[in-house]
């Protein structure tokens, strides 16, 4: 991997991104923001019918006017850049589970990238949370790994698909690391 080197004997078990529905929900506001202004000419036509005095002001607000097309395009251009940023972050952010650790790769922006390793041997408890109608229906949620010591922070994997399966995978690997000393788990 570009972001980190595997140790000897370490192998990647699973690479996971956020669930597609989480990505869809992040993109939805941009789609709405791009679509809703298309109704402005219709709205202005209604205003013209209601108030003939404003007709001169509003008559030019149509897609035949190049300045109107420019304004729409500027708006769509900004939305496209922001949406592409969301897509880039969705794709570049991921969690990688190996037989020794969980690696979190998080792109905060184009100039801020964080790669964090969390050793499975430090994990004491793994919790999954599936909260909400859609999360229950299409099965995505949060996995939280807690450490024994207070100094080490907890580890969160939010909005991931199949959180219970990922928890089981982590628990199995921890059990293998610890021999027969299996840590607790909860849902």
């Amino acid at each position: 991997m570009e972001e980190f080197d595997l140790e000897e004997g370490e192998k990647i078990l699973l690479s996971v991104r956020k669930h597609w529905f989480v990505f869809f929900c992040e993109l939805l506001p941009f789609a709405l923001a791009a679509w809703l202004p298309l109704y402005l000419p219709t709205l202005f036509s209604a205003l013209m019918a209601a108030s003939p005095n404003s007709a001169q002001l509003l008559v030019d607000f149509s897609f035949a006017n190049p300045w109107v097309r420019l304004a729409y395009s500027a708006w769509w251009f900004v939305l496209w850049i922001l949406a592409f940023n969301i897509f880039t972050q969705y794709f570049l952010n991921m969690w990688i589970i190996t037989n020794r650790r969980i690696v979190s790769i998080h792109q905060w922006g184009f100039f801020s990238r964080q790669v964090t390793s969390f050793l499975l041997s430090h994990v004491q408890d793994v919790t999954t949370t599936i909260d909400g109608f859609f999360a229950t229906l299409i099965h995505f949620g949060t996995v939280r790994a807690e450490t024994a010591g207070e100094s080490a922070p907890n580890f969160y994997m939010t909005g991931i698909p199949d959180p219970t399966g990922i928890r089981d995978l982590i628990m199995n690997e921890i059990a293998e690391l610890h021999g027969d000393r299996t840590p607790s788990s909860s849902v």
Partner: protein, 69 residues
Amino acid sequence: MSPSFLAIDGEKILAVVVWIVFVFWVIYTLVAAYHWLRYGHHSVIAVPAIIVHIVVSLTIAAYAVSGFK
């Protein structure tokens, strides 16, 4: 009679603004492409994603300046 500095052609201002936006877009696209290619986990999606970004952006830009000479 208005002062000469107010007699600015709107389309000349537009041309300057379009150039500024274009330079910003080129820098953004280069940075995004760098991240996709370097950190894209060797995915087959990386190159198509960059191409889609360029095509959509240029389509919007072409529509924006359509109607201006």
